[in-house]
């Protein structure tokens, strides 16, 4: 049986407006979703499970509210879920520290394949996959757009700034998932019902017994800011010819961008 681990996170919906108060991101009245890139990971795991004998475990390091995202993943077809409660971590942890927590969690399970989104739509640093693979001493491939499993190997295609690479690696391997890999399904009512009965364990960071030194951040956020407000744009007027002439003049003589 193939053991698949999926690391996922709950994030704001991509349509949300970001508000800052007291140097913190405001979370009230926000719609939360599974990080869209992690959704491709969950979906791919479920697709593999539909093709062959596999068990899918989804894991999140996050606050208690992340439980809803994990239940959605279970409703999509994952078998078990684990939430490592980030509120038990004591402080805001950076990618370095979080990777050690995720690695400790991964080591609790047998795995042949680890999937996670290429990046999150909030932090967006795309470090989790490669860091986790390094700590687990397994190879990784980022931004995969196609996955095939054959004879203990993963044969994948990945997106590299518009070009496509075909890569082969023996399992176990960690793959980060990119848009274009699949179309994540909406959980069905039946799926949602089943999800309620599937196991969802909640662990504290202490339960993972990670060396305290390894879960200390090496970087920290010192300030948050919204983008500088741009001066309002101008919709040009007049005949089309006049507008075109005006635009060309603005770009060449005023803005000096051409």
């Amino acid at each position: 049986m193939l053991n698949i681990l999926v690391f996922m996170k709950q994030t704001f919906s991509s349509e949300e407006i970001v508000r800052i108060d007291n140097n913190q991101i405001v979370e009230s009245d926000v719609q939360f979703v599974i990080n869209p890139y992690d959704e491709f990971a969950v979906e791919e795991a479920v697709l593999i499970k539909e093709r062959e004998d596999a068990e899918v475990t989804v894991v999140t390091f996050g606050p208690q509210r992340s439980e809803t995202a994990l239940r959605t993943a279970l409703a999509m077809g994952a078998d078990k879920a684990v939430l490592i409660d980030s509120d038990t971590a004591g402080a805001e942890l950076d990618e370095y520290a979080v990777s050690h927590i995720l690695a400790a969690a991964a080591r609790k399970f047998p795995f042949d394949l680890i999937l996670c989104g290429n990046s999150t739509i909030d932090g967006g640093s795309a470090q989790t996959g490669p860091r986790l693979a390094e700590l687990l001493d397994i190879p990784h491939v980022m931004a995969v757009t196609k996955v095939e499993l054959l004879d203990g190997k993963a044969i994948v295609e990945r997106d590299v700034e518009g070009d496509t690479e075909k890569i082969e690696a023996a399992l176990p391997v960690l793959l980060t998932t990119q848009q274009g890999l699949n179309e994540p399904r909406y959980p069905t009512t039946a799926g949602n019902l089943k999800a309620k009965r599937k196991p969802l364990d909640i662990l504290s960071v202490a339960d993972l017994a990670v060396d305290a030194e390894l879960i200390k951040s090496k970087t920290e956020r010192i300030e948050l800011a919204l983008p500088k407000p741009k001066k309002a744009g101008q919709i040009l007027s007049g005949t089309l010819n006049e507008q075109v002439k005006q635009l060309a003049h603005l770009l060449v003589d005023v803005e000096n961008v051409i």
């Binding site: 370095y96 795309a126 075909k166 890569i167 200390k216 919709i235 803005e255 961008v257």
Partner: protein, 329 residues
């Protein structure tokens, strides 16, 4: 004296601009530091070392091994660890490119370092280096600093401007060859399908003309290419245009496509969905051409024309042809 190691990338036979921008960023942030460039590959890499020297590198390592001809994580990581042991840097910088996104976090994990990714600004503030990076797809920005260990950061293309005054073609650097041993590679690169060779690298383009669903067909892109040719622009697309098969995904700009920071972005027939804005909202000047005056793109555009791109764009092309033609004379 602080040593700043800059990993420089070569693509299509040229040093990528972002690597030169990393050298420039290092010089500005670390006054009086020693800048050590590094180029990985096989064969004669001396011309790249010379260019790095012109831009400010004091020493350049040419890291050579046949396994480094094409990027694989394992080969580059082993060579990189070798290089870091040799150089003993105080800081490491590289571009936030496909290679940077792959190599930097892996190396950071192995070196037990933090990593600050996709920076758009790097400043010395009160004796500390403070980096600025976008979060929530550019809807907010955070300032970060290192609290333990050395600084390791990747920088976004086109955000650290090169100052031509600081480029000295008479400048020389010490060039050192490093030949690391590279063992067992766990991923095998079977094939590369190039879709972008010959095209302007959108992440480095100063001007981009971009088409969305409003382009209506593959042939529709022709008018954009004509404009692009006259003004020296790269041509990009929204995800919508790619999904509709009007163009290849290699042209896609957006949250999942390329993130670009040109001086001028001309969005033609693009509605302005959040995922697209995430890829271009930091452009210096945004122009929108769309038949729908309510299209969200007009909210971020500096200048907008409500109209049919098939009428507007050819007129623009003619106008620029005339202006730029006169300028040449």
């Amino acid at each position: 004296m602080k040593k700043v190691l800059v990993f420089a990338e070569v693509k299509d036979g040229k040093l990528r601009n972002v690597s030169l921008e990393a050298v420039a960023a290092a010089k500005r942030a670390y006054a009086g530091c020693e800048i050590i460039g590094a180029v990985f590959g096989d064969g004669d890499l001396k011309p790249f070392a010379e260019t790095l020297a012109h831009h400010g590198a004091d020493r350049v390592f040419l890291v050579l091994n046949p396994a480094l001809k094409s990027y694989t994580t394992d080969a580059y990581t082993q060579a990189f660890m070798n290089l870091v042991a040799e150089v003993q840097p105080d800081a490491i910088l590289m571009g936030h490119t496909a290679i940077g996104k792959d190599l930097a976090p892996k190396a950071a994990a192995r070196l037990r370092l933090g990593l600050i990714s996709d920076c758009v600004d790097l400043k010395s503030e009160g004796g500390e280096i403070v980096l600025t990076r976008p979060i929530y797809a550019g809807k907010a920005f955070e300032k970060r600093k290192v609290t333990d260990g050395m600084l390791f950061a990747t920088i976004r293309s086109n955000n650290f401007k090169l100052d031509p005054a600081h480029i000295d073609t008479g400048r020389r650097a010490n060039i050192i060859e490093l030949r690391p041993e590279i063992k067992q590679l766990r991923t095998i690169l079977k094939e590369v399908v190039r879709k972008t060779s010959g095209a302007i690298d959108l992440t480095e383009a100063k001007i981009i003309v971009s088409g969305g669903r409003g382009v209506k067909s593959e042939q529709g892109f022709k008018v954009l290419y004509e404009l692009a040719e006259v003004i020296g622009a790269g041509v990009g697309a929204s995800r919508g245009a790619c999904d509709a098969k009007f163009c290849d995904y290699s042209m896609q700009i957006g949250q999942t496509g390329k993130v670009v920071t040109p001086d001028l972005y001309i969005a033609c027939g693009i509605s302005g969905a959040i995922q697209h804005l995430a890829g271009m909202s930091n452009s210096r000047i945004i122009v929108a051409i769309n038949t729908d005056p309510e299209a969200p793109i007009f909210k971020v555009a500096d200048y907008g024309i409500v109209g049919d791109l098939f009428e507007v764009v050819p007129l623009l092309t003619e106008e620029f042809r005339a202006i730029l033609g006169n300028r040449r004379d």
